[in-house]
């Protein structure tokens, strides 16, 4: 099968776009609005872009704005290393490099009519915001939209305005939790996969989209399976350290799969027999 556009060789040269806006979203997290390369960004929610800050390098970020918005797009960046810290120093008018959209996003076409259960752990909402926005714009295509968001502390909640919107809107069911509450927090305390246990839903008609650290994957998968959700209906978006983003450099390989090219979104049935999917160890030397 030849995917349109893929027969064009990749030269790894990014296109340059402008930074339109920078928002301080949470401590250590900023949202950057960028102009679309060549004026238009067409993508599937869950796809990523390779963003370059020249001199610092390139790293993958999920597009976090809605696919219906096409003349610009947003990325939500946690400052953890070279590229992400360089991105945090940018101001409107600065320029960055973009390659993409790349990879395979969430398989929304295959889940029409189903109830959707989104689980975000840590900064996972950066990856789920786009797909939730897409679903909310096409409400008649889906059944229930259940959203579980779990962060360490209330200050680390991302997209507070969206959370408020989803909370207020009767068509989305938002469940939030924090690991460590502070004086401002009235809500639930605990880990996010536990929400799956407590929500009443029809396991046979539910499709799960999970984004978070490995521990969230493990327990979310377990809890969904215990409830009777099928393996093929539980989707994860995996993170690896990408270099090429197009299935060539080998860095993101999870057994025989390339996260950048075959994913980053995978179903649990694809991952469960692959030892490198959620197994990560601390170095032995």
């Amino acid at each position: 099968m030849v995917v349109p556009g893929l027969e064009v060789p990749v030269d790894y040269i990014p296109q340059q776009v402008d930074v339109l806006n920078v928002i301080d979203e949470a401590p250590g997290v900023k949202i950057l609005a960028l102009t679309a390369p060549q004026g238009k960004m067409t993508f599937v929610a869950g796809q990523f872009v390779q963003i370059s800050v020249f001199g610092y390098g390139e790293a993958p970020f999920t597009i976090c704005s809605s696919p219906s918005q096409s003349d610009s797009f947003d990325i939500c960046v946690s400052a953890v290393g070279r590229v992400s810290n360089a991105l945090h120093r940018l101001k409107p008018g600065d320029r960055v490099g973009v390659r993409g959209p790349l990879g395979h996003g969430f398989p929304l076409e295959q889940v029409l009519g189903r109830d959707l259960f989104f689980v975000a752990g840590g900064t996972g909402m950066a990856c789920l915001r786009s797909v939730i926005a897409d679903c909310r714009e096409n409400l008649s295509d889906y059944g229930r939209l259940i959203i579980a968001n779990g962060v360490k502390t209330p200050a680390k909640r991302l997209f507070a305005a969206d959370l408020q919107l989803w909370h207020d809107d009767v068509r989305t069911e938002l469940h939030e939790t924090v690991d460590t509450p502070d004086a401002s927090w009235q809500g639930r305390v605990g880990v996010v996969p536990d929400i799956i246990k407590d929500v009443d839903f029809d396991p046979h008609n539910t499709v799960a989209f999970v984004v978070g650290p490995p521990v969230v994957f493990r327990f979310a998968a377990q809890n969904f399976l215990n409830k009777g959700v099928e393996e093929k209906d539980i989707y994860f978006s995996l993170e690896r350290r990408f270099q090429c983003g197009v299935g060539k450099c080998g860095h993101c390989q999870v057994n025989d799969l390339y996260v950048c090219q075959n994913g980053p979104v995978f179903s649990y049935s694809e991952l469960k027999s692959r030892s490198e999917a959620v197994e990560a160890t601390l170095p032995d030397n």
């Binding site: 990749v10 790894y12 350290r241 090429c244 080998g250 860095h251």
Partner: protein, 356 residues
């Protein structure tokens, strides 16, 4: 394609080499001055090329180079593009790629070039590889094995993949097999005779003698080996091998079919311009799969050792229908810990058979 076969007189090869050097840039096997008996592929300077010695080397069967000829198309370090950090320009890498000639490639390395052609052409095709590879002309030459070679097990001993012209030294000169128009053009201006049946037979005998001289062999075919790796738990072999391995990455660096790479930016000292380059990667290094927060999906050495076998003999076999090993023996020659790929593979095969 059935090649046309001609006989090229030994004395004509230096003349031909001079002709090639005049018309094109040429990469070929050169003798290492620092290490007699070792060879490396590099650009041959037409001004002071010792074509007589080069012709002799090609006729007598030089031993496999330490670093494979893939570097002609996939340099150890290559600029992807230049940039200006402060300004908006990202000029394309202006390095102009003249068509060049790669000569003296052994059959296993021809097979490796073809495997890399396949991997890098897999959509989306790798532009830098294609840019160098498609205008190039490749001349293969037959060889003599050493104690590390096991090309017969990988079915590459008689490979003519990826070559335009192939030479086998026989009594009456070189048996020259022409595989493309480009290959045919290389012989222009030299008088060659059509090969006679006994020349062709001698060429076949050369191959058979070479194959008979190979001492190592894998105890399973590619399909069976892939199936073993896919289905049998071989942890004890990975652990034992990992106890000897230093994770130095030499096995990757010398392998003609390894194609992973690292990408990095570097700034010039003026801090306003720089370039992004890629360089050969190594899955045996701990950093290769380092994740955010210092976690690592192959943080243990046995996982990295296992990955090398899985990738070459299972994953890429499943993806492309070929093992990504040609039996060149370079990884075994290079290994400071004396880890021989055939010994480990046969150990895996033996244990798997015991477990069944």
């Amino acid at each position: 394609m059935q090649p046309q076969k001609h006989i090229l007189a030994f004395d004509d090869l230096p003349i031909l080499l001079r002709q090639w050097l005049r018309s094109k840039a040429v990469i070929g096997p050169l003798a290492r001055q620092d290490q007699p008996g070792f060879y490396y592929f590099d650009w041959i300077d037409p001004a002071d090329a010792d074509v007589e010695r080069l012709a002799e080397r090609l006729a007598s069967g030089y031993v496999t180079t330490t670093i494979p000829p893939k570097k002609a198309f996939f340099p150890t370090r290559e600029t992807l593009f230049n940039f200006a950090a402060a300004g908006p320009v990202v000029p394309k890498n202006e390095e102009h790629q003249e068509p060049f000639l790669l000569i003296g490639v052994h059959p296993c390395d021809l097979a490796a070039l073809s495997l890399l052609d396949t991997a890098y052409a897999h959509p989306p095709a790798d532009g830098p590889w294609r840019k160098r590879r498609s205008p190039a002309t490749v001349v293969g030459i037959d060889c003599l094995p050493d104690q590390y070679c096991f090309c017969t097990s990988m079915e590459t001993s008689g490979s003519r993949d990826a070559c335009d012209l192939f030479l086998t030294p026989i009594t009456s000169g070189f048996l020259a097999e022409i595989y493309s128009e480009k290959g045919k053009d290389l012989l222009r201006g030299i008088r060659t005779e059509p090969a006679q049946p006994r020349d062709i037979q001698e060429g076949e005998e050369f191959l058979h003698k070479k194959e008979a001289a190979i001492t190592l062999s894998l105890q399973a075919g590619s399909e069976e080996f892939a199936e073993i790796l896919d289905t049998v738990d071989l942890t004890e072999v990975w652990e034992q091998t990992a106890q000897r391995c230093y994770s130095c990455g030499s096995c990757n660096t010398t392998c003609p079919t390894c194609f992973c790479f690292d990408v990095e930016d570097t700034l010039d000292t003026n801090l306003t311009s720089g370039r992004r380059y890629r360089s050969w990667g190594s899955c045996q290094l701990l950093e290769f799969t380092l994740l955010a927060g210092g976690a690592n999906t192959r943080g243990e050495r046995r996982q990295r050792v296992a990955h090398r076998w899985y990738r070459k003999f299972l994953y890429l076999y499943k993806q492309f229908g070929h093992s990504f090993c040609t039996g060149c023996g370079r990884c075994s020659r290079a290994c400071t810990a004396d880890i021989n790929i055939v010994d480990v593979s046969n150990d895996l095969i033996k244990r798997a058979k015991e477990k069944r």
